[in-house]
């Protein structure tokens, strides 16, 4: 093939986000179409499916194919793009009768809870009807075509990418409105008789013809950008314009006139429109009775399910992590003390943290599932059984909260991230602590009451989408052995005292799957659940009690939430410079006092004052039966998502910018060659967007949880707004701080080797 032709044909740009969107829409349509086809096979034919798929392909072609790439150089290509957006894609999409399949394709809770109130509202229906009224939709298309083809407006779209996208959106949505009454999309009924669509289309063709004639017969170039653009293959700008006009004229007119002819022929056959009314009645029934779907179970997936259910799966995972931890510790102690060259400087601080939070976001507490620290004590317990029970007075999260605050402070004060040797000692210390505690005390005392990493995962797994829980509660009702917590001859029960039928969320769950293995009826799975559901519930959970009445849990949450922001802010240039300025002013020999003051204030004092003040303000509007402690604890739990958003933004920043650093570090570790070259990785352009999205999602989930809590503990919506407002202000302030942090220059601080 001619290389130029090959280059033209290769000029596709499959933007990942656009492709993802189209795939989501296609999946929703297919899901809904399959469901509707089972009920109304004569309405939801394969032809509808093909038309919708064709419409999506036309849309993709308009936005990602060579016609888009060449649109800035050739008006002809740009005109083809516009025809795809105006005539082909919308008409095909609507021929697929997409409304009911898309709604039925949505998860039930989205359709009923989220969209339901809007769809049922009078205003929504009125606006919807007005938008597809033939007069409005005809005027919309005619004005959009005319206005966007005026020279100054068209030039604006050519010069600005943002305006170009606005232009395309106007074309597409105006065309959707225009073709709606022509196709006769369900739901809805024709406002005018069908035959009126013939003059409707003919008049639209007149507008199209007028504009085409202007383009075709103009004696000068109407759009100066094409005059300036380099000419390809010797085609002059005027010839290009005339060709574009011809394309707009002929295929454009065909697109209007063919449907007009078809409608004319159909109008001659009487009684064709009656089935539409019958379908409308049937549609209401179809949409009213959407069955509740069963939660998805990870353990029942084809490949991953059997692997996860394999009896020794966790041991294998822990063994692999143990080897990795050993390598990190050895390299940290004996390798070069240069952070980006050392496994102890790279793997724990860049990769492990980033992957752990992403696992929390997408699945659940996978770190604890693979935890290497508990493997040695498990092996030792085969020889020596622990004799003691963890002291009753210490059965809370206070020790863990203290350790966590200390860790966060030490991380910054002693630059743990920049010291492979200190990192190695922390790992070894962890192994020793877990071993000693769990050899002395029964159960998973270290995990439940001491481990700071475990607490981080327990708290944040409350917003994870997967939960280890019972599949059929009725089956547990007839169970008398309770193997899931007591264990049996071949499998131990839950070491964290979580009784599956009464388990609440993921708190204190290590995803060890002991309960899955122990259950004789195989009634425990890893099921999807609503993220953050347990943040707003007041039920008593097995092994954890009522989270909203536990000040130790509230303290832990406050340290984690505010720690997220203080820890991330410590990476930014302005905060570091500010701390160094104070260091200079006070003439201190070390930065430790400054760090100590910052962490004391940021992680302990300020959160404590804020929680107390907010609780004091909120109590004025609460119900009398709710104590101030319960109120403060409930709303503190609701802050978890915004804090998690900040941890995600922070750790994903390290992971995205330093992900490739493990390759040279491992190469050096294996070859013991310290002279390898370590190029810095590029900073991805999408990173700030993703970080902002994490923060925004965190804020929204926090506000939603706070709203549900407020509705529960106050009478009436007005009081609920008043009760939650101080906490909403705190959440908003944290979010604003997070956005500020994202936009600051970051110091990679040893996680990357800079040239």
């Amino acid at each position: 093939m001619d290389p130029v032709a090959a280059a033209v044909l290769a000029s596709w740009t499959l933007d990942l986000r656009a492709v993802c969107l189209l795939l989501v829409v296609a999946s929703l349509y297919l899901r809904g179409w399959l469901r509707l086809r089972a009920e109304l096979p004569h309405k939801y034919t394969a032809g509808r499916l093909a038309a919708f798929a064709g419409g999506l392909f036309a849309l993709l072609s308009a936005l990602a194919s060579p016609v888009d790439a060449f649109g800035g150089l050739l008006l002809t290509a740009h005109m083809i793009q516009h025809l795809l957006l105006l005539m082909v894609a919308p008409a095909l999409l609507l021929l697929g009768q997409p409304v009911l399949p898309l709604l039925r394709g949505l998860p039930r809770w989205v359709f009923k809870d989220a969209l339901g109130p809007f769809l049922a509202s009078r205003e929504f229906r009125q606006v919807g009807r007005a938008m597809v009224h033939p007069v409005v939709s005809w005027l919309a298309l005619a004005s959009v075509i005319t206005i966007w083809h005026m020279s100054p407006v068209y030039e604006l779209a050519l010069r600005s990418q943002a305006w170009h996208e606005v232009e395309h959106a106007c074309f597409f949505w105006a065309a959707i409105m225009f073709w709606w009454p022509v196709v006769g999309v369900w739901p809805g009924h024709a406002v005018w008789p069908r035959w009126t669509m013939i003059p409707y289309l003919a008049l639209a063709d007149l507008v199209n013809t007028g504009l085409s004639a202007v383009l075709s017969f103009s004696d000068h170039v109407l759009y100066p950008s094409y005059q300036l653009a380099p000419r390809l293959w010797g085609i002059s700008a005027l010839d290009d314009q005339a060709t574009a006009g011809a394309i707009m004229w002929v295929p454009g007119s065909i697109a209007f006139l063919v449907p007009a002819v078809i409608l004319g022929m159909r109008a001659l056959e009487a009684g064709r429109t009656r089935p539409l009314q019958r379908t409308t009645t049937r549609r209401s029934a179809v949409m009213r009775h959407i069955p509740a779907g069963k939660p998805w179970d990870l353990l029942r997936t084809p490949i991953l399910g059997p692997i996860l259910r394999y009896r020794h799966f966790r041991r294998c995972l822990q063994a692999a992590m143990l080897l990795l931890a050993g390598a990190v510790a050895v390299d940290g102690l004996f390798g070069p003390q240069v952070t980006p060259m050392n496994l102890a400087g790279v793997l724990p601080w860049t990769h492990w943290r980033g992957l752990a939070v992403i696992a929390l976001l997408l699945a659940g507490n996978l770190f604890c599932m693979a935890c290497p620290f508990t493997l040695p004590r498990d092996l030792a317990r085969r020889v020596v059984a622990p004799r003691y029970r963890w002291p009753r007075r210490l059965r809370s999260k206070w020790i863990a909260a203290g350790l966590l605050a200390t860790y966060l402070w030490a991380y910054e004060a002693f630059s743990l991230w920049d010291s492979p040797r200190a990192t190695a000692w922390i790992i070894l210390g962890y192994f020793i602590a877990a071993f000693v505690v769990d050899i002395l005390f029964k159960g998973a005392s270290f995990c439940k009451y001491m481990c700071p990493i475990g607490q981080f995962h327990f708290v944040h797994s409350l917003v994870s989408p997967l939960q280890v829980r019972v599949r059929e509660p009725a089956v547990c009702g007839s169970c008398s052995t309770h193997d899931c917590i007591r264990g049996n001859g071949h499998q131990r029960g839950c070491e964290l005292n979580l009784f599956q039928p009464k388990k609440l969320g993921n708190f204190d769950c290590t995803f060890c799957l002991d309960c899955v293995q122990a259950c004789p009826t195989q009634n425990v799975g890893i099921l999807t659940g609503l993220p953050g559901q347990s943040l707003r519930e007041e039920h008593r959970g097995s092994g954890i009690g009522r989270l909203n009445r536990r000040p130790d849990v509230a303290a832990l949450v406050l340290i984690l939430v505010f720690g997220a922001f203080v820890n991330a802010a410590g990476m930014t240039d302005p905060v570091m410079m500010w701390m160094h300025r104070w260091h200079g002013r006070l003439r201190l020999g070390s930065m430790v006092p400054i760090m100590t003051a910052v962490y004391l204030c940021g992680v302990l004092i300020v959160p404590g004052i804020l929680a107390t003040a907010c609780g004091w303000v909120s109590q004025c509007w609460k119900r009398e039966t709710v104590t101030r402690k319960e109120l403060a604890c409930s709303f503190t739990l609701a802050l978890i998502p915004v804090g998690f958003g900040m941890w995600l933004a922070h750790f994903s920043n390290h992971l995205a910018t330093g992900w490739s650093s493990f390759v040279p570090a491992i190469e050096r570790f294996l070859s013991r060659d310290a002279s390898a070259d370590y190029p810095p990785g590029p900073i991805p352009g999408w990173l700030p967007s993703v970080e902002l999205l994490f923060l925004g999602m965190g804020l929204l989930l926090t506000l939603h949880s706070a709203w549900r809590v407020a509705c529960r503990i106050s009478e009436g919506r007005r009081r609920a707004v008043a009760v939650m407002s101080p906490w909403a202000v705190v959440a908003g302030a944290l979010y604003s701080a997070g956005v500020w942090i994202v936009f600051q220059p970051m110091q990679m601080r040893g996680t990357m080797m800079m040239r």
Partner: protein, 169 residues
């Protein structure tokens, strides 16, 4: 509003954003040696920060696109003399007739741009000047993401009002 809805809507919202495409505004068009060279920059107007510079190289006779050249770019800021060098390639461009190079312009003001084309052992050079506006505020670049939470909050408030009205009615 349920959390999974937030997730879904965020996916839809994210998917609406589009990538920076090559092409853009014509900054320079010149005939040099056997070639006609056109330099495009994006975004328009050009501002300091990450930008996309793309070039169309055509034969002077017949204006056929040249696809087998090595294209080198050198950009020098006139105020500070800081310099950026980059190799433009067709792999980096959306339009495969163009040679593209993503670069980061560290400051605003006038920049000298020098293009060197190597083809069949021959070296052709062209030069020009481009104006670079000050950096756009990052918040302005990501306004959609910053506006997302307030938009969702408003939608939620409207939804709650609709439910409230239905309950009363």
């Amino acid at each position: 509003m349920k959390p999974r809805k937030l997730l879904l809507l965020s996916v839809v919202f994210l998917a609406q954003a589009t990538a920076l495409a090559d092409g853009g505004a014509v900054q320079l068009r010149t005939e040099a040696g056997a070639f006609v060279i056109t330099v495009f920059t994006s975004p328009a107007p050009l501002s300091a920060g990450p930008v996309d510079i793309s070039l169309l190289v055509q034969n002077r006779d017949g204006l056929e696109p040249v696809l087998d050249a090595d294209v080198l770019l050198a950009l020098r800021a006139q105020p500070s003399r800081s310099e950026i060098r980059a190799q433009a390639s067709r792999q980096k461009s959306q339009n495969k007739l163009l040679y593209a190079a993503p670069v980061t312009l560290v400051e605003s003001g006038k920049w000298q741009i020098a293009v060197t084309i190597l083809r069949n052992g021959e070296r052709t050079a062209a030069a020009g000047t481009i104006d670079v506006a000050p950096t756009r505020e990052m918040v302005a670049s990501y306004w959609g993401y910053v506006a997302f939470p307030p938009f969702m909050i408003v939608a939620f408030v409207v939804r709650e009002r609709l439910i409230c009205r239905k309950e009363r009615g």
